[in-house]
Symmetry: none
Subunit: 212 residues, 4 copies
Amino acid sequence: MDGFPAFLLDGYKSFMSDRYDPEQGRYRELADQGQSPTTMIIACCDSRAAPETIFSAGPGEMFVLRNVANLVPTFQPDGGQHGTSAAIEFAVAALEISNIVVMGHGRCGGIKAALAPDAGPLAQGDFIGKWMAMLAPVADEVSKYTLLTNKERQTMLERFSIRNSINNLRTFPYVKRLEDEGKLAIHGAWFDISTGELWVMNDEGDFYRPDV
Amino acid sequence: MDGFPAFLLDGYKSFMSDRYDPEQGRYRELADQGQSPTTMIIACCDSRAAPETIFSAGPGEMFVLRNVANLVPTFQPDGGQHGTSAAIEFAVAALEISNIVVMGHGRCGGIKAALAPDAGPLAQGDFIGKWMAMLAPVADEVSKYTLLTNKERQTMLERFSIRNSINNLRTFPYVKRLEDEGKLAIHGAWFDISTGELWVMNDEGDFYRPDV
Amino acid sequence: MDGFPAFLLDGYKSFMSDRYDPEQGRYRELADQGQSPTTMIIACCDSRAAPETIFSAGPGEMFVLRNVANLVPTFQPDGGQHGTSAAIEFAVAALEISNIVVMGHGRCGGIKAALAPDAGPLAQGDFIGKWMAMLAPVADEVSKYTLLTNKERQTMLERFSIRNSINNLRTFPYVKRLEDEGKLAIHGAWFDISTGELWVMNDEGDFYRPDV
Amino acid sequence: MDGFPAFLLDGYKSFMSDRYDPEQGRYRELADQGQSPTTMIIACCDSRAAPETIFSAGPGEMFVLRNVANLVPTFQPDGGQHGTSAAIEFAVAALEISNIVVMGHGRCGGIKAALAPDAGPLAQGDFIGKWMAMLAPVADEVSKYTLLTNKERQTMLERFSIRNSINNLRTFPYVKRLEDEGKLAIHGAWFDISTGELWVMNDEGDFYRPDV
């Protein structure tokens, strides 16, 4: 193992002077009293779509799960180790957050892999194929949409995937119950890396650009 | 579903003027050419410990997996849907990153749950207990360290957990091989929310505060 | 028949003072020398999407065909009275224009009718159903895209229809030959009435927002 | 295909700042509530005679059909694809417009072709001859009016054509019925490109210059 990457230490130094020092009181308070974020974001690991950056979030504001392609599985209490489900449970039951945002983004490598499961460097892999298989029924369906260009198909699957994850979220009994009681709101969002545009989802599942 | 949270739209507006506009060329380049981050960070969902914030990372720099307590399971190619393993495979095989940093933090709720599996709001939950059980051998061991105060025990388990995750990372054959070939470096880091201190791990597994 | 509508006369009066008088020389020149527009626009009759308005076009700049849903039929020299084909022939053979733009728009009533041919006030009509039947193979196909919301399906058919019209344009032998010779360029565009956004089509058939 | 024409993008940019921005509320309302124009204009494709320009029309005011020489065929419910008839049906049956204006103009190239069907670049064409043949009985008749100069003959055919189209409009049963019921008014207009003069038709079919 080499030394700790210098660019990370440089970044940390900037953080300390630019962010931590001015917000020192906030960090201490958050340490003493524990976190109480109102919002959980389920986002992708992609290096170009960090939720804290896109939403200018300060410390303590967002509980952030990130996996490949921001997928949510259905509720499967089978005793297995479900990291995404564990994070959802923690956010809802322990933190009592009031919003969950499933946030996708353009040019997602995971979605691309779902559309071409037999191509690319991950075709023979052990995990990506299995992970994205969660989306296989949707990906198979969209692969039949022959009038779409490749780019349109990718974008549509990114959106279908967000709607699919939101449907899956509602298979968690406590999520469903709290949403029905008006105590938890579920949202969808899609970020366009190229243009910086943010699209959010309405009740019909359509994406639109909100006024900001 | 209510409207999209206003504070997120406000944050997005700030992002557009403060970050996206000055870095527009960078975002477009990242969209056109794809991401090529050099570093993967495996971090916790905790709202107080966002890696991009702590390392002042710009777009495209970090591929970031976040789950509860920044755990890495062992290599289990059993056909199941392993989100964390899928992200590791994607980072190593598709993105060919050269650094993996497992980053923990102080006052971690997941670690606290691992130390008291029969207490708290998640004791009867479906997923958190199972997820943190990955750390049960280590947690059971540290619970016998009767000379530690509760706070020391929590901090020690946060650190043991980072070392445990790093050991588990090395059960992935391609991670092990690339590390042996000097093409991939694995690091540990721990962030103290209260003081803003960053501690990093050396080759012996010891944590120290680097000069910055 | 009542008198000529007063609001049209009011509008004409404004035109004379605001547009004709300042451009009088241009109008006289256009009358004396004939029109020589460089561009043909094939657009919809919709009252919300006038091409001269959207492109701020002056007199003599655009030869504009408008029919319901901006459709182009295939080349059918069967002796029938094909108004759209006549306009294309006039633009290409007599005016020797160098650009054809097929321009669609959001919330198109004709496209809506194509998606629901058995509903609405036109279901029993004599002509709309037949006219939109030109798009039936595409509309039937997109009606199978069950993952799309109604709004997405409408937007996608608006775009598919533009691509379909462009393909049909290329069945006109002189259009094809001139395009191959680099003397005629064919473009697609889509206008969003709600936001004012203009999207144009690239060589892959994808729509994007150009920098303006 | 080359890039999208720059002059169109420039025009669009002007539209956005000069027209869309001040009328943004109107555009959004028109998008949300649908169009409800009171008037249909049947005009020529000619680049010098755009109805929205001549009548200073705002968004949502005019449903505009444009074909070569603003012709209306007779009612022919033969199952063929009649674009002009489809637009009329859409305007009357779906939009319930209350005015139809057939608008011709001076120096019309289509009318010129009708007067000299064996000359000019379109003589051997596939569609223009057939299209203008709709006007052949009228054109043949006017060609016998040997006392007219060529310029007078052109102008007279432009006017005869408007009257002919209006007669043909009345062969559509629903047009006739609504006109008889006083719910739909039919108008004729003729625009002189050279002088900017607008002439409108009275009940006797005479054209006169209205006071404005």
